[in-house]
Amino acid sequence: MKQLNRILALILVLSLLPLSMTALADEPVTITIWGSDRENMPFRNGLMTIELLKERLGINIEILSAPTESLAEKYGLLMAGGDIPTIVQYKAKDLLLYKDAWQPLNDLINETDTPNLWKVYGDPEIRRKVSDADGNMRFIGQRTAITAGKLFFWRQDWLDKLNLETPRTVEDLYNVFVAIRDGDPNGNGEKDEIPFSVRKNGSNNRGNVMPFVHNWGIAETFFAEDGQVRFGATDPRMKEALEWLHRCYAEKLLDPEYLTRDKTAWYSEWTNNQVFMSYDWSAYIDNVSNLFKGTDSDVHIVGAVPPEGPTGISETRDQLQPITVDEDWNAGIFVGASAEQKAAALKLFDYLYSEEGMILLNFGVEGEHYNVVDGQFVYSDLIMNNPDGLSPQDALRTFGIQSMLTLLQDARYERAFVSDEVNRIRDIYEQEGHIGEAFPTLAFTNDEQSVINEKYTEIETYVNEMIDKFIMGVEPLEGFDAFAAQVEKMGLQEVLAAYQAAYDRYMK
């Protein structure tokens, strides 16, 4: 087999020889970038931004596209193969599963060589979010412009119609749900209102149901309290939160099909005038409002702050971080790449973090995608009233703007798109303390990681299964203590010890 390979390789090399001889002179270095690609956010060769980056930086960029819906599989295969592109963009947690693969960046990011990166990563507060267990920086993150990413929102017109007061606590909210269910605000004479409904989000179907538990002072999985790492799923407060969620589910206040409700079905619940309240990315306030555009209904979608839990906590913990480590944008540089490639990759990143690069990746090309009016960036008609009928965001993404390489987001971009209502509620979340402390993405040592692989993956499956069963009542909540005991038995303490060690390292 090897012999055959060698012969084949030889033939190939010989046949390419004349070609490479001519190309050898002054060929710019080629780097390959692997990242998530899908129809409404393409990451492919030939995108406008990528062509411009090639031109401006004098490097050759080749994109390896991985379909978003099988990203985890593609990443697993990529890493199993060991043939790694120059740059890989993926979630921090998964990048750090293979620490050896990524070039340590501590010595490479400094004031002289990469001044733009240094402006962000020179800050130790930011730096520790991208550091590995050994203190070395292993990837470049995406710098976000805003914090409030996900929000609650509801139909204010229904509250008004039924003369309901704005609910303050979870119990108030429960009563409002009941009133909505029984009060027939859509006026069709049927009891078909679904007070709270969410869209399936990624692989975790109940993701948008769980933020309620944050108001009990916990998170769904790991969170820190007084410097101590705790596990939310088996916390006694989780039992109380689940009792509330189960009550809502059993009384048909929570969408009974939340496990399989995909986006289109969820939208149709809205258009059928069935849904009162939901939780999602802030842009969905506008998306849902747009569903009713053109109809003469008096639908009024308004953002809402989280309901207070029993101890008065009103916050959500799953918000955007200054560096989004949980999304697919983090970029590691392969340690085995050639010195020229590594240099080119750093040059690229530094450019992406510069003012010029930021403008290209957030706004595009002046006169084409945006114009500057009175010192303000304004998107052109090509974007805002796209001739192909694309939404502004989709239109931008067809050029590669606001896409996989937008590593430095600009607040002006964020504000330019959304309605006043979204900006209003986002400011309230950020300024009035509705954003809870998020648990950092931790970097583990190899020993800690192997404890987590062996114990936590099994615990995770079990917990995922049981939480849904508790909410749906398939498993009665009397079984909660037995559930917690089982998780203990599966080695929770060892896992917590690993997390604690990593957390202490992070906080130091």
């Binding site: 409404n40 390896l64 295969l77 995909d262 986006k263 939208y267 998306n287 697919d328």
Partner: protein, 299 residues
């Protein structure tokens, strides 16, 4: 005409009992019911693809389209990657099936010939891989080592022979009278001559059937593309279909008009993706029953 049919016809002249009539009525009824159950979901998809979005989601569509329109199809036909992936799938199916057939015929014929010493061992060697395999990751590593990633060969070669299909064909070949082979050999044909001049013309049914087996597998396969391809211009149709049918984005902001269309687009894509196969197989169908035989691999 099947053998039973012939026998029954002859017996009909003798007597048609009441029990027999009853049975036939029952038989027809069961088959009609079964056919309805088989057809319904496909007809539903067809109807939904022409129906208005809200009608689909409210469950108004049962068998016939509601508020007919073809906007979903217009949208699908404007999907740039669709045509490219369609062409890719045609290529993978055509070329892939050709490779499959050549290798399978060669393998099946040589293993069916008694004069090949060691064929029993070789047959078992092939059969063994039906039940024992290296698994996904080791196979991936081999394909990677052969430098096939991101080429069309990664799609075509790893599944180039299906052992099951080769055994089916081998059983078929073994039923060909040895005398024909010997006569051809006396006429000076070597084994290739025998295979191409005598055997294959007699094996149309088997070739068509096994070819159809392979073609369906190629048409519906997506997993090898997930495993081995990183270039959208090489994606087969099923990858696009999955994106449309299963997509759950993480961050998004699609326009409202598109959102409202999504369900219809889903069904239109499904129709577009399954239509070619559904159009082809009825023409090949008459060979199916004659083309497959399974038996022991010991001889």
């Amino acid at each position: 005409m099947s053998v039973t049919e012939a026998a029954v016809r002859r017996s009909n002249r003798i007597r048609v009992s009441r029990g027999r009539k009853l049975f036939l009525a029952f038989n027809t009824a069961v088959l009609l019911l079964l056919c309805a159950a088989m057809l319904y979901p496909v007809l539903f998809v067809l109807a939904a693809s022409f129906s208005e979005e809200t009608a689909i989601l409210k469950g108004e569509v049962t068998l016939l389209p509601v508020r007919v329109h073809i906007r979903a199809y217009e949208k699908v036909f404007h999907y740039p990657l669709l045509w490219k992936s369609y062409a890719n799938t045609l290529l993978y199916t055509g070329l892939g099936t050709a490779i499959n057939l050549v290798l399978t015929v060669f393998g099946a014929w040589s293993l069916s010939q008694k004069k090949m010493v060691g064929r029993r061992f070789l047959t078992l060697m092939c059969t063994f891989t039906m039940f024992f395999n290296g698994g996904m990751i080791p196979t991936f590593l081999v394909v990677k080592e052969l430098k096939l990633l991101n080429t069309l060969w990664a799609i075509l070669l790893p599944g180039a022979v299906s052992t099951y299909n080769m055994i089916l064909m081998r059983t078929f070949f073994m039923a060909i009278p040895q005398s024909l082979v010997e006569a051809a050999e006396l006429d000076g044909c070597n084994d290739f001559g025998v295979l191409f001049r005598i055997v294959l013309p007699l094996s149309l049914a088997s070739l068509m059937t096994i070819g159809m087996f392979y073609a369906v597998a190629h048409w519906n396969s997506y997993f090898s593309a997930v495993l081995y391809l990183n270039r959208p211009e090489l994606y087969p149709l099923q990858i696009i279909l999955r994106q449309v049918v299963l997509m759950n984005e993480i961050v998004e902001n699609a326009s409202s008009t598109e959102n409202v269309m999504a369900e219809g687009i889903k069904y239109a894509t499904i129709v577009v993706a399954m239509l070619p196969m559904l159009c082809v197989y009825p023409f090949v169908q008459r060979y199916f029953v004659k083309g497959v035989m399974v038996g022991s691999v010991k001889e």
